[in-house]
Amino acid sequence: MKRFLPGQHAARSALFLALLLAAPYALPNEYYLSICILACLNAVVAVGLNLLMGYAGQISLGHAAFYGIGAYATAICTTRLGLPIPVGMAAGVSLAAVVAWIVAAPTLKLKGHYLAMATLGFGIIVSIVFNEAVDLTGGPSGYVGIPRLALSGYAFDTDHAYYNLMAVVLALVVLGSLNLMKSRTGRALRALHVSEKAAASLGVDIAAHKRFVFVLSAALAGLAGVLYAHYLSFIAPASFGFAYSVQVVVMVVLGGMASVWGSVAGAFFLTALPEALREFEDIDILVYGAILVGAIMFVPDGLAGGLGRLARKLRRAGAAHGN
């Protein structure tokens, strides 16, 4: 097996960041920038979910709940409670993590479809609370007046500034995830995915590892939620429902399970796709569904796997040509 150089992840992440930062100069207008920001937000959630689903093999159909908890927590802290933005953001991420920590213990004992059901049910309950707790969340019509992000005097008031921040956040999340999966903890997570009994017999604390990755994954979703709220300055429960949970799962699977880069690709692809399909007007939803079905049928190992295969094929063709 090829040995990875120690700095390889850092180098690739830096290259990725440079690409992200350069992208706006190739985009025709501001509108595309806002889609890129949403794509970065989705990518943070998808990478987080992939740590849980792709690496540790635990499905979650309720990640929209953590995204929403982060967004609503910072919204309420920074407006009604009048707290400074960094405090609100910290509160949003921590609340998502704490809720995940509480939910994790009974939930992660479940397996397979029962786990899917439990996380799905949790997501639906939280989304109903967002809708019904009108005094706290503003109900279905949403929560307005969330301040745009400003940190230590610097206001991220243009989309370009916000996008640069998102690019840095995403690159850091990618780097951290890649390194985590190369670490002892990452190996333990992959081991328990393959066989919990075998991993346990080698001394891996199954429950603690599952809980750790669940909380980490929820905290990343919470972080994205916090940044989403301070970007749009308006949030509504429709953004944090079952549909979003499913969308993130699809991003992970379409990108390629257990591939951090795949999740980033899946998130960018699925965020951009509806925009690209706008010109089909009424039938855009049909085209979206068809592309989804087709992609899974013809590229079953996801974008990451498919691109990898394509690259190998090209290299082989090139080598054959060279001979």
């Binding site: 029962y114 059901m117 439990a118 049910g121 609370v129 049928m297």
Partner: protein, 291 residues
């Protein structure tokens, strides 16, 4: 405090019977293929919407309902043939994502063909409520319960007295062993998808006069059906039906006595609590994991 209890019970049982039928559809497909079919709710939607459409074309009501159910069974069969079977050997999660994609397609298609309006199917035999034990029972509720019981009895017969039914049971026990004794597992999968389509459409058609129908009713109904079969213990068709009834009644009482806005949440809270105590559902056997 207990005023209205009979009323809540009746409406809960009616709704629950439909959840049970939907859960039954999930279970049949799960048993033969190991897939959770997230397009199950769309089968329910198709049952209601197609019945309204056929009625609009001038078919009499019973014929319209029958045609809708058969058409949905064909949709189920096509789905297995075109999208699920080519996937054989891929991880189950891929198949689940395919079913999500198909549910998006069916929902989008229904929106294009039937529009975004909420449509109503006329009640099968009038709307004059029957007063009994302090509850006003709609005749349609009796239809729902009767049709559900009849379908359950027919399925019981199917599984215990026909060769196809027994073959399907064999697939759910052990696919490899079933194919060794000459059962075509692929054909059983096809049969289970079309039967699920049929059962889902029946649920949609009998429920449509009570709750109305629209292109997007499938999602929540599908999730409730999934909850019903998990509640009953995944893999047990009659557990799914019982789970549906329990879920419907809980939901109805929750909406009546606690808060109607939290109606959908109530059922899921109870489901989660149950799963935490009994991780394999009410009637499910605790699985033994092979190493």
């Amino acid at each position: 405090m207990l005023s209205g209890a009979p009323q809540y019970l009746v409406s809960g049982l009616t709704q629950g019977a439909a959840y049970g039928l939907i859960g039954l559809g999930f279970t049949m497909i799960f048993n033969t293929t190991g897939i959770i079919n997230f397009a199950q709710g769309e089968f329910v939607m198709l049952g209601g919407m197609l019945a309204v459409a056929f009625l609009g074309l001038g078919l009499p009501l019973p014929l319209a309902v029958a045609a809708a159910c058969l058409a949905t069974a064909v949709v189920g069969a096509l789905m297995e043939r075109l999208a699920i079977r080519p996937l054989a050997g891929a991880p189950a999660i891929n198949a689940v994502i395919i079913t999500i994609g198909i549910s998006i397609l069916l929902r989008g298609g229904a929106m294009l063909v039937f529009g975004k309006d909420t449509l109503a199917l006329p009640a099968f035999s009038g709307v004059a409520p029957i007063l009994a034990m302090g509850a006003a029972i709609q005749p349609q509720s009796i239809w729902v319960l009767a049709v559900t019981l009849a379908l359950l009895a027919a399925l019981k017969l199917f599984f215990s007295a026909t060769i196809q039914g027994k073959a399907m049971l064999a697939c759910s026990c052990q696919k490899k062993a079933a194919s060794l004794v000459g059962i075509s597992v692929a054909r059983m999968a096809l049969l289970s998808f079309s039967l699920s389509g049929l059962i889902g459409a029946v649920a949609g058609a009998i429920l449509a006069p009570i709750t109305m129908t629209a292109y997007d009713v499938g999602t929540m109904l599908g999730l409730k059906g999934f909850a019903a079969c998990i509640l009953g213990g995944l893999g047990n068709p009659f557990g799914a039906a019982a789970g549906g009834l329990v879920l419907g009644v809980l939901e109805s009482f929750g909406a009546g006595y606690v808060a109607s806005g939290y109606k959908d949440a109530f059922a899921f809270v109870v489901l989660l609590l149950l799963l935490f105590v009994k991780p394999s559902g009410l009637f499910g056997k605790a699985g033994v994991e092979r190493v």
